[in-house]
C-alpha cells in the first residue's frame, strides 16, 4: 500500500505546494483565466502532456468507434476460434505476441482476444471509474473542507478526527479487505455481481478514502481566507453565509480544487488498476489494464509483448497526467513555481 499511498502523497503534496491564491491584482485588460491560459500555452511540456491525455480520453470514449473501424471487438476469442493463431498450450504462434497486420498489438495468451481492443476498452473501464470517483470526491471534499474551515469549532474538530482515523488506516489494505464487504452490501452471496455493481462498490471504496486530501487542503485555505479583509468586508456589509461561501470563498479556492482534481485522476486510475492487479477489482470479462498486467506477468519468458502494451500505456498515461497537473498548477498559480 505504500506504493499507493505514495501516489496520494505525491499529488497531495504537489497540490499543497500551491500557496493560497488570495486576490491577486491582474494586469489591466486580462482576466486571470486568460492569463493562465496564456501561461499554459507557453509551457511546451504542458501542451504535449495535455495532448497525450486528450488522446487517452478520445480513445477511451471512442472505443466502440475504434472497434468498428478496426473490425474487432474485445470479447471474441479470435485465437481460439481460428486455428493457427495460438499454439495448443495457448501461446501466440507468431513472434511478438502474435502481432501482425490483422492483430496490431497481438493476441492475448490462453484466451486469444485482441490486445488492442482489450487495451482500448480497458482505458474506458479505468477512466470511467476514476472520473466518477474524482467528481464525487471533489464535490464531497470541497463541501466538507469549506464547512470545516468556515464553521470551525465542533464541526472542524469532528472532521479533523475523522480524517485522522482515515489516514491511520493503510489504504490499500483497507481497499482489499473491504472490497468483498462493499460487494456484499450490493449482492447476495453466490450470485453474479453485474459489472455496474462491482464498479459502484469500487467507486464507494475509493471515495471513502479519496475525499480527505482535498478536504484537508481546503480547510486550511478557508481558515486563512476567513480572516482576510475582503471576507471580513463582505461580512460587515451584511452578506449571508451563502453569498460569502459562493461569491467570496469559492472563486479563490478554484485553483487548488482544479489542481488536486487533475492529480487525483491518475492516482485513481492507478489505484483501480492496482486493485484489479491484486484480484479484488474488476473481473473477467470486463477489460481492465490492471488485470492485463497481472496476467502478463505470468508470461514474462514466453510472451513479454502481452505485458508490454498495458504496462507502457499505463505509465505513459500517468506521466502525462502528472505533468499536466504540474503545468496546470504553474499556469494558474505562477508563484508556486520555485
Amino acid at each position: 500500500m505504500a506504493d499507493l499511498l505514495r501516489t496520494e502523497l505525491t499529488s497531495g503534496e504537489a497540490a499543497l505546494g500551491g500557496q493560497p491564491g488570495g486576490k491577486r491584482k491582474p494586469p489591466a485588460g486580462r482576466s486571470p483565466g486568460q492569463l493562465a491560459w496564456r501561461r499554459f500555452r507557453r509551457d511546451k511540456t504542458g501542451v504535449i502532456s495535455a495532448c497525450v491525455v486528450l488522446f487517452f480520453f478520445v480513445v477511451g470514449l471512442g472505443a466502440p468507434v475504434i472497434g468498428w473501424l478496426y473490425g474487432k471487438n474485445p470479447d471474441t476469442h479470435y485465437g481460439l476460434d481460428r486455428p493457427g493463431l495460438l499454439t495448443d498450450t495457448g501461446i501466440p504462434v507468431k513472434p511478438n505476441g502474435g502481432m501482425d497486420s490483422e492483430f496490431w498489438f497481438g493476441l492475448e495468451p490462453r484466451l486469444g482476444r485482441d490486445v488492442l481492443m482489450q487495451l482500448v476498452y480497458g482505458i474506458r473501464t479505468s477512466l470511467l471509474i476514476a472520473l466518477v470517483v474524482v467528481a464525487i470526491v471533489t464535490v464531497l471534499g470541497t463541501v466538507i473542507g469549506i464547512a470545516a474551515g468556515y464553521l470551525g469549532g465542533r464541526t472542524d474538530y469532528i472532521v479533523g478526527r475523522i480524517i485522522d482515523i482515515l489516514l491511520a488506516i493503510p489504504s490499500t489494505l483497507f481497499y482489499i479487505a473491504f472490497m468483498p464487504v462493499a460487494l456484499a452490501l450490493f449482492v447476495a452471496p453466490g450470485k453474479e455481481a453485474p459489472v455496474w455493481l462491482r464498479s459502484c462498490a469500487l467507486v464507494l471504496l475509493l471515495t471513502v478514502f479519496g475525499w480527505t486530501r482535498i478536504a484537508r487542503l481546503l480547510r486550511g485555505q478557508v481558515l486563512s481566507l476567513r480572516e482576510r479583509e475582503f471576507v471580513e468586508a463582505a461580512r460587515v456589509s451584511g452578506a449571508g453565509t451563502r453569498r460569502i461561501v459562493f461569491k467570496e470563498l469559492l472563486p479563490n479556492l478554484f485553483t487548488p480544487i482544479l489542481v488536486v482534481a487533475t492529480l487525483d485522476v491518475p492516482a485513481m486510475v492507478t489505484t483501480e488498476a492496482a486493485l484489479s492487479y491484486l484480484g479484488v477489482g474488476m473481473v473477467e470479462p470486463t477489460p481492465d489494464w490492471g488485470r492485463m498486467i497481472h496476467d502478463g506477468g505470468d508470461y514474462l519468458q514466453t510472451d513479454i509483448t502481452y505485458l508490454a502494451f498495458p504496462g507502457i500505456a499505463l505509465i505513459i498515461f500517468v506521466i502525462a497526467f502528472n505533468l499536466l497537473g504540474d503545468s496546470v498548477r504553474d499556469a494558474l498559480d505562477p508563484k508556486s513555481h520555485r
Binding site: D3, A168, L314
Partner: protein, 326 residues
C-alpha cells in the same frame, strides 16, 4: 514533553479503538461471512455448526463479541478447543493458527523489505533533492526533477515484472527474489531482496527528491539561514548545520507515514515478487475470506501507523527548535 507524549499516546489509543470497532462491525455486518463454516469441515451438519458457533461465542451480540475480542488482545482467550494467548487477535481457521503468531512469522520478510527500501530511498532521495536544490534552475536540477516526475509516475506492479524480465529472466544478473533470514546468511538476504528494494526505491527516491528539494529551497530563503549566512558561515556549514536540519522536518513527517505503511506490508511489492510477507498474507486472507486474519492485519497495520505518527511528532519536536512541545 511528558504531558505531550501522554496526550499523543492517549489520542492514538482512542483512534485505534475506533478503528477496531468500525472494522469489527463492518466485517460482522456482512452476510455470509461465516467463520463457523470454515472450522466445520466437510461433514458439516447444522447441529455441529451451531455447536461451533456457540463454542466460538458467535451466537452472542456483536458488541459483546467485540468486548471479548478486545479482552483477548490484552489477556488472551479460549477459542473453541485452543487457547490463544495474549496478544490474541483471533484465530484463523484457514491457517489453523492464532492470527498474531502467523503475522509474527511473516513480519521478518516485511520488515527486511521495508528497512532496505527506506535506507536506499532516503540516501538517494534526500541526496538527489539536496543536489537539485543546490543547483536550482540549472540543468542538473531540471534533470533531477525530470527523473522525479517520471520515477514518481512508475507503478510497482508494472516495474516489477519488467525488472524481473530484465535482471532475472533475460540476463541472470540477479537471483529471483526470495527471502533468506538475515541471521542465516546476510549476503543472500541482501541479494535476494535487492530487486524489490530497487523497485520500491525508484518510486520513493523520486518523491523524496522532490520533497527535499522544495523544502530545502524554502529553508534557504528563511530568515535564520540568511542570518547565519550574514554572520559569515560558509556554504557547506550553512547547508549541513542549519538548512539541512530545517529542511528535514517535512521529510521526517512523511517518512513516518511511509515507514508505517511499509511495515504494514508493501502489498503490491510482495505480491509482484512473490515474497511471503504480511502484505501477501492480507491479500490471501481476503481471497480466502479469512475474516479473523483480515481483522488482525488491518488492526496491526493501523497500530503501526499510529505508533509511527507519535514517533514522528516526538522527532519533530526534537529537531525543530521553533516548535514548542507544550
Amino acid at each position: 514533553m511528558l504531558a505531550f507524549l501522554v496526550r499523543r499516546v492517549l489520542g492514538g489509543i482512542v483512534i485505534l479503538a475506533i478503528i477496531s470497532l468500525i472494522t469489527f462491525l463492518l466485517f460482522f455486518a456482512v452476510p455470509g461471512s461465516e467463520v463457523a463454516a470454515l472450522s466445520c469441515g466437510k461433514a458439516c451438519t447444522p447441529a455441529i455448526m451451531e455447536e461451533i458457533r456457540h463454542s466460538l461465542g458467535l451466537d452472542k451480540p456483536v458488541l459483546v463479541q467485540y468486548a471479548i475480542f478486545m479482552g483477548g488482545i490484552f489477556g488472551g482467550r479460549q477459542i473453541g478447543d485452543t487457547y490463544c494467548s495474549a496478544p490474541c487477535l483471533g484465530y484463523s481457521f484457514v491457517n489453523r493458527q492464532p492470527v498474531f503468531q502467523t503475522v509474527a512469522d511473516r513480519l521478518p520478510v516485511t520488515l527486511s523489505l521495508a528497512i532496505g527500501a527506506v535506507v536506499l530511498f532516503l540516501l538517494f532521495g534526500v541526496g538527489l533533492g539536496m543536489w537539485a536544490a543546490l543547483r536550482k534552475g540549472k540543468l542538473a536540477d531540471k534533470l533531477a526533477m525530470g527523473f522525479a516526475v517520471i520515477g514518481g509516475s512508475m507503478q510497482i506492479f508494472v516495474l516489477a515484472p519488467f525488472f524481473l524480465y530484465i535482471f532475472v529472466y533475460s540476463t541472470d544478473l540477479l537471483p529471483r527474489p526470495t527471502y533468506v533470514s538475515f541471521w542465516d546468511n546476510p549476503l543472500q538476504w541482501a541479494t535476494g531482496l535487492l530487486l524489490p528494494w530497487l523497485c520500491l526505491s525508484i518510486i520513493f527516491v523520486a518523491y523524496y527528491a522532490r520533497l527535499t528539494r522544495s523544502s530545502m529551497v524554502d529553508v534557504l530563503n528563511e530568515d535564520f539561514v540568511r542570518t547565519v549566512r550574514a554572520k559569515g558561515l560558509g556554504t557547506r556549514q550553512v547547508y549541513v548545520k542549519h538548512a539541512f536540519r530545517g529542511a528535514m522536518i517535512p521529510v521526517v513527517t512523511i517518512l513516518g507515514l511511509d515507514v508505517a505503511t511499509l511495515f504494514a506490508g508493501a502489498i503490491i511489492t510482495e505480491q509482484s515478487f512473490g515474497l511471503v510477507g504480511v502484505g501477501q498474507l492480507a491479500v490471501n486472507s481476503v481471497l480466502n475470506s479469512d475474516l479473523p486474519m483480515m481483522m488482525g492485519v488491518v488492526l496491526l497495520a493501523a497500530t503501526a501507523v499510529v505508533v509511527c505518527n507519535i514517533i514522528v511528532d516526538v522527532v519533530y519536536a526534537a529537531i525543530d527548535p521553533r516548535i514548542k512541545v507544550s
